[in-house]
């Protein structure tokens, strides 16, 4: 009989992972802070053509790129003369499981099957669970999805409960847990129990799968307009969406500015039982976006393939009220009803387009499905019943966990810039704190790549830390 106490299972983490990740991470390590990131991604053996072949085998990808003409017209009405870029959206909800996460699951599960795994496990309360379940269904693999779902009163966000239903619809076993970081402990236990593949959101196979999203945006744009878009906005949580999309754009030779966007949940503790249901977004928020940007290796694989600060040229935050408002705007002005979490980047684009020239183009790189539970009405109703003050006003005054302030007028929707310099400094401090080594020259070069800066910036940050 195995010892399944928290301490005993966590102590077996290394060996459980080794069996479940299908990749020898040790060979990419330098023994210090630096590791061979590109080597790790290349070791998947998956280039754009191969990923496209795999995804098209699952009917994933090649989603429509839609011009939002009325939302653009509204943005121009609010912008100074000559401003107001054309806004486009990549309708990722058209994927089989209803979100871009299908791309990530396709490469991951394809690889798992090729390696001989009989099933896969994903720890996620988000769209990724349904994506893994859907691709497992197509591949004849078994699937377990583990969710952090309820508070201690068994009160669950309607959005998460809907995702559980969808996973079950695709034949997955769903494990629902109360709030806490021990989700990871239960994940390890399930991996050990079953011998299934760790379909981590952060493994190299998954992130390489997102590259086709960026690549398609460049191709579709060129085919339609004979030019590249000027900016692409990606919702940022764990970082894989932004990382994969940016890498795909680069592989297509597209120089569009890559902008990250998250819902601002500052002040809410993600592992708190009492605060769990005080938020109305379960992903796409700063509670994941900030910590995973500034320390990607906090994830459930030894080295995360999602490293957004390598690619992000600007990072903005939006309030919950602004994103809910924009979601209704998409339905009312464009006839497209889509899930709120996918519209974080749309709210950002609506604001940023007003800073850009009218002959420029900005692309929102995802939408997600909507339905019972996962829709602005049940999400706002749930928030109101949990004592959140919902009203019209200036969204700048929203206090996460206390209020949701819907803009009294669309001219109050404003993307607020996060301080990227500060986040880059945090990443370097976190690297030093985690490794506790004197950085080598290779580490300095690595950290410059990690933060999209140069060696002078890194050396100055290291010095400031001493």
């Amino acid at each position: 009989m195995r010892d399944n106490s928290y301490e005993a299972v966590m102590a077996r983490k290394g060996e459980i992972m080794k069996t479940a990740v299908g990749m020898d991470y040790a060979k990419f390590e330098s023994g210090s802070i630096a590791f061979d990131y590109e080597g790790m991604l290349a070791s998947t053996g998956l280039n754009i053509e191969e990923v496209r072949r795999i995804q098209s085998g699952f009917s994933i990808g090649n989603t429509p790129l839609i011009e939002l003409k009325n939302i653009t017209a509204l943005a121009r009405k609010l912008a100074p003369a000559g401003k107001g870029a054309r806004i486009f959206i990549k309708d990722e909800a058209a994927n089989p499981s209803g979100s871009f996460k299908a791309r990530r699951a396709a490469t991951s599960i394809y690889t798992a099957k090729k390696m001989g795994y009989k099933g896969a496990i994903a720890a996620t309360s988000g769209n990724y669970g349904a994506a893994v379940a859907s691709v497992c269904a197509m591949s004849g693999l078994r699937c377990i999805v583990m969710q952090e779902c309820y508070d201690s009163h068994k009160l669950g966000q309607p959005e998460i409960i809907e995702k559980a239903r969808k996973c079950e619809a695709f034949g997955a076993e769903v494990v629902q847990l109360t709030v806490g970081p021990e989700l990871f402990y239960m994940f390890l236990r399930a991996l050990e129990d079953t011998g299934y593949f760790n379909a981590s959101l952060y493994n190299a196979y998954g992130v390489v799968g997102v590259e086709t999203l960026g690549y398609e945006i460049a191709e579709q744009f060129r085919a339609k307009f004979g030019r590249d878009p000027d900016a692409v906005v990606a919702t940022n949580a764990g970082g894989g969406n932004l990382t994969g999309t940016a890498r795909g754009l680069i592989k297509a030779g597209c120089k569009a500015t890559v902008i990250g966007a998250s819902v601002n949940l500052a002040g809410l503790h993600m592992a708190s039982d009492t605060q769990f249901n005080r938020k109305s977004f379960t992903t796409g928020h700063t509670g994941f976006g900030m910590p995973f940007s500034t320390w990607p290796d906090r994830s459930d694989v030894p080295r995360s393939a999602a490293r957004p600060l390598r690619y992000m040229e600007r990072y903005v935050t939006l309030s919950q009220g602004e994103v809910f408002y924009t979601t209704e705007m998409l339905a009312s002005l464009e006839g497209l009803e889509r899930g709120p979490a996918g519209n974080v980047s749309l709210a950002a684009a609506f604001s940023i387009a007003q800073e850009m020239d009218a002959d420029q183009c900005i692309v929102v790189q995802e939408t997600e499905y909507t339905g019972a539970g996962k829709h602005i009405n049940p999400q706002l109703d749930f928030a109101r019943k949990n004592g959140i003050d919902i009203r019209f006003g200036d969204p700048a005054e929203e206090v996460p966990g206390k209020s949701i302030i819907l803009p009294a007028h669309p001219n109050l929707i404003k993307a607020r810039d996060a301080d990227l310099g500060h986040l880059r400094g945090s990443l370097i401090r976190n690297a030093l704190a985690n490794f506790k080594v004197a950085p080598t020259d290779a580490d300095v070069a690595f950290l410059a790549e990690e933060t999209r800066t140069d060696e002078a910036f890194v050396r100055a940050a290291i010095e400031a830390n001493q």
Binding site: Y6, E173, E182, T194, H269, Y325, S332, A372, L380, D381
Partner: protein, 99 residues
């Protein structure tokens, strides 16, 4: 009365407050880590009994029997008037308020 082979919902306390991870915040540490799973009942039982189920991945799990034929109860919630106003506002601003 639930019959062997029924599709059921199971509740299990996985970790008591004392057994929880050291890094959990104060409020979370006061409550146990709980789990809900679904599967086929392996023997006849009553609601509230300690039972065993076989899940869809053929795992055997033990816990308290909570519900037979468990249902999804989420929906669209009560009417939220603000959503109606947003839709009307943006249409009026863009297209004008005339009939």
């Amino acid at each position: 009365m639930a019959k062997k082979g029924d599709w059921v919902l199971l509740h299990t306390v996985v970790l008591t407050p004392e057994q929880r991870a050291p890094q959990v915040p104060e409020d979370t540490r006061r409550v146990p880590l709980e789990m809900w799973t679904k599967g086929y009942l392996t023997q006849d039982a009553e609601i509230g009994d300690e039972v065993e189920i076989t899940t869809r991945t053929k795992r055997s799990l033990r816990g308290t029997l909570v519900e037979v034929d468990p249902q999804h109860r989420h929906g669209y919630g009560d009417f939220v008037p603000e959503i109606l106003k947003i839709g009307d506002d943006v249409r009026d601003i863009l297209f004008g308020g005339e009939r």
